[in-house]
Amino acid sequence: MATASRAGPRSVLETKRMGARAGLGVSLRVFLQTVAARAYPRLVAQQRERSWMFFDVFLPMIGVSAYVFVYRAIGAPEAYVGFVVIGGAMTAFWMNVLWAMSSQLYWEKEQGNLALYIMSPASLMGILLGMALGGMTATTLRAVAIMLLGGLIFHVPFAVVSVPALLGTFVLAMAALYGMGMMTASLFLLFGREAWHLSNLAQEPVYLLSGFYFPVKTLNFWVALAASMIPLTLGLDALRQLVFPAGAAFGFLSVTIELGILAGLAVVFLIGSHFLLQHMERVAIREGRITESRR
């Protein structure tokens, strides 16, 4: 007792701080373990069922080819061919966010996994990040394959202006994109099949607004600015400026400004998703939607 009294309030405070630090360490460890564990089924599935390679690599090439033929038929600038190829490659990431992460929570709920995730000490952000990273292998392969095949078949002249800027743009675009994906995923905690329609709704309009197959600059300035809320819009625009010699001429904003906005979007979406997921989880628990879709 005497020792404790001598130690005084500083020791108590130190103990609390140490406890908090230990708690933070444990939380971080569980978070990382969760990410790895949830990524694992995706990685294993890609190994055990390889038919996806055909569907994910060759089929998207058909869509890309169609746009290339249209542009060549109407005599559009040759730079557009490269834009289509890079747009086709980046489509893979949007599809991964939309179907393999956001709406995946719907299937997890139907399967009974969602209740087990919520009931465990794991965070939903860790689960979603695991899903995203697990799906990244296939997605990246799809994107790279489209770039290589598209480049070879249609003779696209890639000329990278700056590799660090290119990597930075890609990382920022992905961070913002997956942050936005986590925000939309939170809707699936609350809704059932209704949210499914939201995903469908997001697919084609995003293809249009993000300028997947054409430079977004051709849209009205204000429409393009509004579309910049979707991280792929600016990500794609910046990548095109950094990869193609004629890219800058078709760019919507300068790469520096686009990177600044992307960084802002990444921060807002990632922090927003953290709070939105927590909020939606609370609402879903209050309304009994974690295990039941219709109530």
Binding site: V26, T34, T291, R295
Partner: protein
């Protein structure tokens, strides 16, 4: 609250709002009403009731998956709403017929994945997985894809998932649903062994199988329409009926003979009949044995032949019937009164 209490609920209630059409007001379904329970560490506690009684709702609230509409609940002294994040590492749940995990993963991989959500180091997790699979006799299936497992084997894997994180409180929601007799017996034995390995653990089991509740549980709460009707050890609950005499009579087919003359005999608490193949079975609960005589006389008057007569020891089914007025099967099928 003492440290020995694993679960406590106070006036717990839950109302579901069921959405109607666009212009309709949402309907309200009272799933739980004023549920008060106290479960000690070291206890295997059963919630017994028909489908739709509110058993799963209790479990969902206690596992932090559903918020109560009224009252409060705590697990290991922590409020399930306010302290949900502290409750979660200390609990686990296994439901009957659940299809959790991923079919493409093997048994080991599925179990490892869930262990990681609890922060268990991979080495420890793999050791525990091997030990527990050996206990449930599933070692030879460790590298089998879970989609290739039968229902019974899959449920054993789920049970291992529940035990693997070494929870302080394990929730088993109809864990033997759909299992054959042997597999159900294995699951019960494993549950009992796991509980007895540490006095810090507790199990809350929901079931609508009387034998399971009777055989496995230290105490049972009988629940119907969201209300707890009785709570005691199975033997004490049955002892309440000891003063009554219960008989099972096998008689010639009743063929529409009215039951009113039997039910109106003074001292008849319950008179139920069920048809058999070429005979009918009467289950009769009487105030005392002396009332059997007028029953037999009435059978003779109605020209019903008595083929056999058996005095029964009360079961939890009889307790349920006494409390609810109908058998559990009748409640589930909406028959009877």
């Amino acid at each position: 609250m003492t440290d020995d209490i694993a679960i406590q609920t106070e006036a717990l209630g839950r109302i579901y709002k069921i959405r109607g059409g666009k212009k309709k007001e949402p309907k309200q379904l009272v799933a739980l009403e004023d549920v008060n329970l106290q479960i000690q560490r070291g206890e295997l506690f059963g919630l017994l009731g028909p489908n739709g009684a509110g058993k799963t709702t209790v479990i969902k609230i206690l596992t932090t998956l559903l918020a109560p509409s009224s009252g409060r609940a705590s697990v290991v002294g922590l409020d399930v709403v306010r302290d949900a994040h502290q409750v979660r590492p200390r609990i686990n749940m296994v439901s009957g017929g659940e299809a959790s995990g991923y079919g493409l993963l093997t048994v080991r991989e599925n179990l490892w994945m869930f262990s990681q959500f609890y922060g268990i180091p991979s080495k420890d997790a793999n050791r525990r997985i091997e030990e527990l699979l050996a206990q449930v006799g599933l070692s030879d299936r460790i590298n089998t894809k879970s989609s290739d497992l039968s229902t019974g084997l899959r449920q054993k894997m789920n049970i291992v998932r529940g035990f693997m994180t070494d929870p302080e409180v394990l929730f088993l929601d109809e864990p033997t649903l759909g299992l054959d007799v042997g597999a159900a017996r294995d699951v019960r034995r494993l549950t009992r062994d796991w509980l007895e390995a540490s006095d810090r653990r507790a199990v809350l089991l929901t079931t609508h199988t009387m034998v399971e509740a009777d055989e496995l549980c230290d105490r049972v709460a009988i629940i119907n329409r969201g209300k707890v009707l009785a709570c005691d050890s199975p033997s004490s609950l049955k002892h309440r009926l000891q003063s009554e005499a219960i008989f099972r009579l096998e008689v010639s087919p009743l063929n529409g003979v009215p039951m009113t003359p039997f039910e109106s005999i003074p001292g008849v608490r319950r008179f139920a009949h069920s048809p058999g193949d070429g005979f009918s079975t009467l289950e009769v609960v009487l105030e005392d044995e002396s009332i059997l005589s007028p029953i037999v006389s009435q059978l003779a008057l109605q020209d019903i032949k008595l083929r056999s007569l058996q005095k029964c020891e009360p079961t939890l089914e009889d307790v349920f019937v006494q409390l609810v007025g109908r058998s559990m099967a009748e409640v589930e099928h909406g028959d009877g009164k």
